[in-house]
Each structure stands twice: as C-alpha cells, then as structure tokens.
Symmetry: C2
Subunit: 130 residues, 2 copies
DNA sequence: ACATTATAGAGTCTTATAGTCTTTGATTAA
DNA sequence: TTAATCAAAGACTATAAGACTCTATAATGT
C-alpha cells in the first residue's frame, strides 16, 4: 500500500503554486520542469485539482494555472482526496455478520491519519517551506 | 491506495485463531473455509505470519496453525506490517533540497494512524467480537 | 508405508499505475 | 484573421503489483 506518485506531484505542484505568489497563472511546462515530470502527465493531475475547485486554469497565450481564492485553507487531505479518491483504505468484503470489529478498528485508525491531514494546510506548508 | 485483500485475510485469520481457544492447531483448510478463500492462497499469508513469529505451525496429520505465546498483545500494526511490509506510505523521491516539508507532514500523519493501530491488540479485538 | 498437513516455486490472470501521443478547444498577440 | 500558445480530453501502451492456481516437496503422526 503506497500513495501514488500522482499524489506526490499534486502536493508539490500546489506548494509551487502557493510559493510563487504571482498574479499571473503559471504554465504546466514550468510546473513540470520543477519536478522533472512530463507536462502532459502533470496536466492530467492538474485537471483533477481544477475539478475539485482548488486550482483555476486559463487557456491560451499567457494562460496556465493558479490557486483559487481561499487556497490558504486547503488541506493536505483535500489534495490527497482529489487524487486518490475519497474511499476508505480498508473494506472488509467478507460476508460475516453485521458489524465487523476489524473494519471498525481500521476505519478509526484511518480517521486519525485524516484528522492530521486535515489539520495541515497549504498556508502552513508554505510557512515552513520558506 | 488500498490495503491488500491479503491483509484482510490475515486479520480475520488471526481473529479466528484467537477466538477458537483450542489447544490443537487448526488446519488451513478450516481457516480458509471461514473466509471463503482458497487454502493454498491463505497458506502463503499464514507463512508470513509464521515468519514474523505470531503464529506457529506444525506439519503432518493433526497439524495446522496456532497462535504463539503472548498473542494477546499482538497489535493490528504487527499484523499489517507482516503482510504489507514496514515501509512508509509516502516517499518523496524528488531531488529538491535536504528536508522536504511535504514528506515530513505525510510521515507525521502516518504515525498517527500507526499509533492507533499499535494500541489495538488482538486481545481487545477478541473482547469486542464476542 | 501411508495419509495428512505445511512450505516453496513457478506460472497465470487481472487491475492499477504511470505514463505517451494526438486531437480539440480556448485565448491572446501580431 | 491568422498564428502561436496554452489547457482538456481521449486513446493508447508498458510495467508492476495483487490475487490468485497448480504442482512438487518436506515434515509429521498413525
């Protein structure tokens, strides 16, 4: 069980966008270079972030991507969910009785991680990354 | 990112072993039936648990698997590590500076989950599953 | 010896990840 | 209005991991 590389790219891209406090949008070309990944691949990741409303995009010359208003409070969990999806890490598919205690414990532990990831915001990340 | 089915089987198998407080070992055949999984596949999972010292096995007629001494304090995390491995869920492979803050945050959140999984023991699970 | 059981290895099938390539559509600058 | 620049979307491919199966071997009890 591992986070996908896409999640790593997404997190770093969000940080890059947040750090470059430019009013102009930044092209995928530039963002891709900063992480040594292909622009077309990164664009798919960015599209997911756009669909979740964290990033806005403009086509055409001088276009690119920029963070949307309120970006400061975007959490790690928001970004991770945008890429990995929101479904639980553990699902007991076994058909045994109504309440699986194992499932319960696994979900509770997952919640602990998510609490922490919810607490960590983009603004906080920028602060410590300077 | 999902836990493997093998982890699910492992957790349920450990619970089954713990619940059947029999002094005699239990064959993989029996254990497999309880979860609707093939015996040969489950045996591979059990072998991992044996190698981690949580389960002991005896070959031959009337052989099978049983929990080792001190099983009560085996944690969810122990079982999960035995199947999924101990490596971190997130690894920033990017070559940018010495301390990646993203990596740090991700690891901290992971630790929260692991803390909880360490707290949850087999004995506790048996208690609530009765 | 023989039945029973775990262990180990190789092999298969499916799915997810991690991309690439190409086309289309929007926007701006000349 | 045309060309250049950019994002979005779809189809495609390659690799690896997950989820098994099958077969052979080794250990143990009757």
């Amino acid at each position: 069980m591992k986070y996908s590389k896409a999640t790593n790219y997404a997190l770093h891209t969000m940080l890059n966008l947040a750090m470059s406090n430019s009013s102009k949008p930044i092209g995928v070309q530039t963002l891709a270079e900063q992480q040594n990944v292909s622009p077309t691949y990164l664009s798919k990741i960015l599209t997911k972030l756009v669909k979740e409303g964290m990033v806005s995009s403009v086509s055409g010359a001088n276009g690119g991507y920029s963070l949307t208003k309120g970006w400061e409070s975007i959490s790690f969990l928001d970004i991770i969910f945008a890429i990995e999806g929101k479904s639980s890490l553990f699902e007991c598919g076994l058909d045994h009785g109504p309440h699986c205690q194992i499932q319960k414990v696994m979900l509770e532990s997952e919640e602990k991680m998510e609490e922490e990831l919810r607490r960590q915001t983009l603004a906080g990340l920028v602060q410590t990354s300077k």
